[in-house]
Each structure stands twice: as C-alpha cells, then as structure tokens.
C-alpha cells in the first residue's frame, strides 16, 4: 500500500490555480522527486500535504487514512516529518537539544516544568544524530553549524517522530556539490532501512536524476509527467516546461 496517496488536489489563491487536480502516490522506501519551474505549485503541494494550507478539493491519505485539512501539529503526530527549503532549526540550542525537543514533543512530555531536560531522551537523540552523521557535533549550538550540517540536523529532527513519510523541500539548496550527494545518499539509506516514503523537491537536476526512484513534474499547477527519471528526462513536454519558453506561448 502507498504511504502517501494524493488524489485530485487543488488549491487556488485569488482566482489563480496554484495546484490543479494533482494526484500521485509514494510507497515505503521510495524517493519521489517533484520538479518544475518556479511557481509550478511545488511548495503549495507540500503545504497542502503537511497541513499549512487546506485544499479546495482533493484528498490526502496517509497509509489509507485521510489527513486532509488537519493542522500541521496533528499531521506531524500521525507520522509526517518535514524539512524546509530555508532550514528551520532552533538556533540558540545545541544540536542535541534540537533533537531532544522533537523527541520530547513526540513523547508528549513538553508540559513538564521540573523534569531535567538535559538528561531526557539523550540516547535516542544521539542515535538519531548518529544516523544523520551529526553525533560529533552534538554539543555545538545550531547557530554555528555549516549549512550542510544544518540540513542534516533538520533531517535528524524530522526523523524524531518515526515518520512514515518525509517531506523535504529543496533538501540540497545552498549546499556545495559534494555535500548534496552525501545528504541524498544518507536520505536514501534511511528511507530503505526504515521503510520511509520520501517526497522531495529539488532544482539540481543531477541530484534528482541520480537519487530519485521516480520523478513527477509540475508546471502551472498541473502534473505534466510522471515516471522513471530516464523517461521523464526524455519527455519533450518536460523539456519545454522547464525551459519555460514554449509553455508561455501555449
């Protein structure tokens, strides 16, 4: 069964269709890349899935259960992790504390005002940091991390709720070349090992075609192609849309 099943998703802002009738699915252990030119509706799609926006029409199913219209906090509790295009971490806290907060939230322990947080969930946090290759920096403040390390920290945070689905918005933006491949290899191995479905957007085509299992292409809010990387790459409509020229004249 698909982990994520999106059907007929639509959203418009002030009469402009940002996303129109988009359907797709992601299965466990799979990396699905969503690509398309600026304004194609990728971010809107992400925000519809994780609850920051409510769709005008369509359904979002997580492991067969509808999560359409739920708030982000509820969707997170059901097992959807997310990383952001511009990293969102807790800058004034150490790397370990960043992950601890997420773990404590998952364990519903946040309201306790007297427990000694520095001693809670340390082993679990370190295990996640080890997975993300960040254990050696656990005691550094997030504010001083290199950008690539911030992305890896985000990944560790996103894994804290043992997600079934991972949404990654431009996971490699702002990273140098070598770092990009490393992060995507890490993501892929985590996805395979824990049977997590991964949906990511990406502008670096090398990253997409090297690491994605499948690719879906959006343009003008609609799905114009979907399939294996090689097939999508050869699709003339995709090439037009991505160059953005003929699409404008159409």
């Amino acid at each position: 069964m698909s982990v994520l099943q999106v059907s007929g998703l639509s959203k418009s802002f002030g009469g402009v269709h940002a996303v129109r009738n988009v359907s797709f699915a992601v299965v466990a252990g799979e990396l699905l890349a969503m690509i398309g030119p600026n304004g194609a509706g990728k971010s809107t799609c992400f925000n519809l899935i994780n609850g920051q926006l409510t769709p005008d029409a369509g359904r979002v199913l997580l492991e067969g259960r509808s999560i359409t219209g739920l708030p982000p906090r509820a969707i997170w509790r059901l097992g959807v992790g997310r990383t952001f295009q511009v990293t969102a971490t807790f800058a004034s806290m150490t790397v370990r504390e960043n992950v601890q907060v997420a773990l404590l939230s998952h364990a519903r322990r946040l309201p306790s005002p007297f427990a000694q947080a520095p001693r809670l969930q340390v082993a679990q946090a370190d295990a996640l940091l080890a997975q993300a290759g960040m254990l050696d920096q656990a005691d550094r403040p997030a504010a001083v991390l290199a950008y690539g390390d911030l992305k890896r920290l985000e990944l560790a945070i996103a894994l804290a709720n043992r997600p079934r689905l991972l949404l990654m918005d431009e996971p490699t933006a702002g990273m140098a070349c070598g770092e990009r491949a490393a992060l995507m290899r890490l993501t892929a191995s985590l996805a395979r090992a824990s049977a997590i479905a991964v949906l990511f957007t990406e502008h670096d085509m090398d990253t997409v075609f090297t690491h994605a299992d499948r690719v879906i292409v959006l343009a003008g809010g609609e799905r114009i192609a979907e399939g294996a990387p090689a097939k999508v790459r050869a699709d003339p409509r995709v090439r037009e849309a991505y160059l953005g020229t003929e699409a404008l004249d159409a």
Binding site: A88, A91, E97, V101, L104, H106, L110, F114, P118, P141
Partner: protein, 610 residues
Amino acid sequence: MSATSILLQFLNGLAGASALFLVAAGLSLIFGVTRIVNFAHGSLVMLGMYLAVALSEVVGFWWALPCAALAVAGLGALIESVLLRRLYRAPELLQLLATFALVLIIRDYALWQWGPEDLLGPRAPGMAGAVTIIGQPFPAYDLFLIAVGPAVLGALWLLLTRTRWGTLVRAATQDREMASALGVNQRLQFTSVFALGALLAGLGGALQLPREPATLKVDLAVVSDAFVVVVVGGLGSLPGAFVAALLIAEVKAFCIALGYSKLTLVVEFLIMALVLVLRPWGLMGRMPAPARGPAALEPPLAAPSPRVLAGLCTLLAALALVPLATTGFTLVLLTDMLVFALFAVSLHFISGPAGLHSFGHAAYFGLGAYGAGILALRIGAPMELSLATAPLLAGGGALLFGWFCVRLSGIYLAMLTLAFAQIAWSVAFQWDAVTGGSNGLIGIWPAPWLASKAAYFWLVLALACAAIALLWRALHSPFGYALRAARDSPLRADAIGIDARALQWAAFTVAGLFAGIAGALHAFSKGSISPESMAVARSVDGLVMVLLGGIQTLTGPLWGAALFTWLQDALARGFDYWRAAIGCVILALVLALPGGLGSLGGLLKRQGRA
C-alpha cells in the same frame, strides 16, 4: 446633559486631540522610517514645554512656539546623528534601552535647568479670554488648538504627498532597502525624519502651555499616551493617528463630562486593548512585512556549569552570613537587591527564553504587593497567609492578561502588556477604599517572628533564591526547551507538534506569579505600598535590569538587578542628578557592551585567549 454641553465637551475633546495628534504623528513618522521606538519622545515634548516657557519671556508667547519647536528639532537631529545612528543594526530592545537612557538624562537636564517646581506658562496674548458658543463661554485658545490639529495634519499630508522629500519618506516607510537601492541618501533621510518628529513633539508640548504647566512628569505620561494613539491608529499611519487621537480625546472628554473622571486614566488603555484584540495591527495599520534578514543569534542558554553553581552557592552562603555582621542599611539594600533580582529573573523568563517582550511586568509585581497589603490590612489575614496567597492574585492577573497578550507579537505585544499594566495601575491609583488610592497602603508589617531585619532578610534570601532556582530549573526542563524552540523558529516548532501559544500563555502566567512573590516580599519589607510599585517606570526598571545584565544570559538579570538597585540607591542618596548618571551608565553600556554585563565573562575569556 443638554445639547449645548454635549457640543462644548465635544469641542473640548477636539482641543485635547490636537496636541496628542502632533506628538503621536512625530512618533509614528520616526518609527515608520527608522524602525526605532523612541521612548524619549515624551522627553522632547517636555523640553518643548520648558523651552517655550523660557523663550516666551524673551520673544513673547507666539514667537516662542516655533522657536522652541525648532530647538527641539535641532536636538532631535543631534540625537539621531550622534547616538541612534550607531544602533540601527542593534536589537530592538537595545535601541529602546538607549532611548530610555535619554529619558533619564533629559529629565535631569530639565531639573537642573528649571528646577523641580511646575512652571506656569503664559496666557496666549490675544486669546486669553473666552468666546461665547450658544450662550456658554469657551476658551478662545482652545478654538485655536482645535484648528491646529487638522492644520498640521493637512500640512504633513502636503509635505508627504507634494514634496520630493515626502515621497522619499513614504517610499522608505514601505521598503527602505529598495529606496536605498534607488539611491535615496539614508543618512540624510533618517536625520531629517527624526528632526521633523522632534519638531512635532516640541510644538505639541509648547502648544499645551496655556492649558497646563510645564512639569517634569510629563515625559513618560505623554509617551505612553502617544504610544497608545500610534498603536490604536496603526503603526506608521498618520490618518490613523489622527483618528485615534480624536477618539481617545473625545472619550476622555465625555468621561469627565459624565462624571466618570476616574476613568480617564485608564480609558485610553481600555480602548487600546480592545482595538488590539479586534484589529491586531490598529485601526488603519497593516500587518507588518516580515523582517528581512536573520534575527540576532542567541547563544545557547547553558545550564550553570559546576563552577558557576559553586560560585553562586558561595555567594548565597556569604549573603546568609551578612546579618551576623551588620543589621544596618546594607541589609536593607541587600533585601531590595534580592527582591528585584527575583523580579528581573521572572521578567527575563518571558522576555528572554520565551521571546515575549513585556513592557508591563510591574503590573504583576504590584498585584503581588497590593494583594499582600490588602489581605493583611483589609481582611486581617496573617502575614504568612497573605504572603502565600498574594502571588496567586498576580498569577491570576497574568493568566487573564496573558490570554490576550500571547495572541500578538513584537512591539504590539509590548504595547498590550503596557496597556494592561496601566489599567492595573490606575485601578490601584483610584480605588481609595481598597488600595488607599494615590497614598497607597501603610503599616504592612511581617509577623513578629520575622520582625527583625535579619530574620526578614533570611526569609527573602530563602524565598528569592528558591524561586529563582525554580525558574532556572523550568528553563532547563522540557517546558523551557519548548519555549526557546518556539521563540527560535515558530515554523519548526509548529512542525514538531509544539503548541507555542499555550506554552507562552503558561510562561506568561508563571512569570506573573513569580513577579507577584517579589512584590509581596517587597510590601512586607517596606511596610507600605504605593501605586508607584506598578507604574510604567517600574516596568521599565525591570527591563533595564534584564538588559543591563544581558538578556541572553541566565545569571545576567541577577547582576543587572543588583547593579541597578545599588546605582539607584547610591546615586539617589548622594546626588540630585542620579537619573542622568544612570542614563549615562546605560548609554555607555549599550554602546560598549551590547550583550549586557552577563556577556562580560565570555568577552574577557575570548580576549584572554586571543
């Protein structure tokens, strides 16, 4: 109420609105372009009043108005180009602290120059009498004032829409970065806008002279009125400020006319609270664009290291021994320091780690103090019970006010906390039967077993230290982690299931509760309470303590509170101009040590290594 008297009250309200609008318009212009919340704006108004009194003896009243306004404008330009220009990249709170230092310095300058007595201004020559409106006398000068408000609004409107300078100011108010990329000279622009704002403040002050005397207390009173007008009207909107000034002045005038004059102290804050809850960005304001660029980076809030803990314990032990050596004045001072350390730590709890900047924290200090006093004096409860119950009253107040406050953020949140504090203050100031009104309450003494200074000091030491330890512990609990998380990145916090608003509400309540403990302890140590204990100035004192010590550090507020309390005490006893001295210390610290005293250790360490 007859139709005639309604009309006269309406005119009276219009006359009151004019000066208020002038002052608020200046504040709004300055904030729009420079993004600085100018606490010293009321001080410029005060200077305008005093200068006009002084000048009218030389050049006559009518010439004194423009001369005083121009002099204040010149001072404004100087302040901007010498001081504020260095602070545009500093955190918002630091800018606020710097302008507050100016309040202190200007207040003492006026004290030195013109003395502590109120100065009666001259009558306006040619307009000293009254005109008859439908058979009732009405001051001729007030008619002139009524005309001034719309005239200045019109003049400003022309200036802003019909001149190149005004077009550039409107552009910069909207997007100053883009204006700069188009070649708009920002230095010149900021200085001239600040000068114009100061000019309006000075003129607003000078114009009030025939209606009220020049007094030193006008600075903070006027600036909080102007804040209210600007926030109600919407930050950066001149028509909004005009409408808000009219609304507030009219409501005040009718409160007096209908015999509810007691309401005038609080009604504007009620209006503001109502407006902010219904329209969070003011009547004519718009949601502020998200700030461009990353926010100031906060270092991690480390749990005190074993060495620091050992140091603190040693200090605690040393303090516990002090009463054996002396029971004199030192002990009183130390008691005050401990009380204010707790107050500062409770303020730091919400304004630092939780990121909720409160301008009205004294409300909860005062609620605790009054709670203790009322329980002890009016109900006759034993001291122990009063001390235990009073903080709950403060916590209850914070629970109520906090529900509204956590719905806002940034400067709007700060203003709403100020509004609630002002409401609490005016209730204390006016409810004679219960709070003793402006005289306050006297004769609140501790139980016999605590009657000696030493015993009470030990009680304060124990309670304050326990309370501070609890707050610190909470900061390093999952609750505290979540607070910092929600402050650092609301987006990420939401994405990992943190209900930021609920947590912040809880934090606000806890901080209020602990400020209430400090207040109750203070009441019993002084034996009396006055409305001063919850006035704006006390809230600002708290902020100064936190910022002096360093908002980004855990122990900073302790040192800030100790230093500030000591400075206030030492200077106030030996020196008439202690406020100015404190102002200078604050300015020096803001410019030299933007991270506060608490950052000194880290700074020295880094230099030692280099």
